[in-house]
């Protein structure tokens, strides 16, 4: 399952969706907004998303995990403003065996970061910045950053 939402994420929801009585383990990755980045204090992030494409790309990752590993995968991503300490992304993979669950979960989050059209705007002590891969670009003051519908 996939979920793209402005509401707080519940990792247990991802777990419930992937676990069956046949599975002996799950691996969960949770990304959380931290209080610093690139040496700057950060007070929060705003995630901008190209929603229809992001959902499609997330669904493809879930499908690829099923095809390549035969495993169930759930991906939740929050967008809009997210404060420090709150979860921005949850990836959960269930498996009978742990090695595959680790491999698949790691592949899923790596692929999400590369290919799912979501961007973070960082509210830092010294300004507001768009994070575009390795670059951070000053953002327009007061610029609205709503999700594209």
């Amino acid at each position: 399952m996939i979920l793209l939402t402005t509401e707080p994420l519940d990792p247990a929801e991802a777990t419930r969706h992937v676990m069956t009585a046949h599975d002996g383990a799950y691996v969960l990755f949770v990304g959380v907004v931290r209080d610093h980045a690139r040496g700057r204090a950060v007070t929060g992030l705003e995630y901008q998303v190209y929603a229809p494409m992001a959902e499609q790309q997330m669904r493809r990752i879930v499908d690829a995990v099923r095809e390549r590993w035969g495993l169930a995968c759930a991906i939740l991503h929050r967008y809009g403003y997210i404060g420090v300490g709150e979860a921005s992304v949850v990836v959960c993979v269930a498996s009978a065996h742990r090695a595959e669950a680790f491999d698949a979960c790691r592949w899923a989050i790596d692929t999400l970061k590369a290919d799912v059209p979501i961007w973070k705007k960082e509210f830092a002590a010294n300004g507001t910045f768009w994070i575009e891969g390795e670059d951070s670009v000053p953002a327009a003051v007061g610029g609205a950053a709503e999700a594209a519908s």
């Binding site: 190209y50 999400l112 970061k113 768009w130 594209a148």
Partner: protein, 85 residues
Amino acid sequence: MTVRVLLFGHYRDAAPPEAEGGAFALPLPDGATVADAARALAERDGRFADLLARTRVAVRAEFAAPDTRLAEGDELAFLPPMSGG
């Protein structure tokens, strides 16, 4: 023809005044490609000069190439390096 351009990240801050949520209409000659659209944007506003060098593109929410031909009503998104997660 007219396509619907979608901008993200710092490029959205440079979107024209009529844009809503980073989206606006761009008139193009029939048969125009993604690269033609990027050139048209760069001619309007110098801040888009590096648009194609710094973004991947999607047409109708699928990754596309600079030489992808556009059709009437296509949604053309310029996607800076992503930073989700």
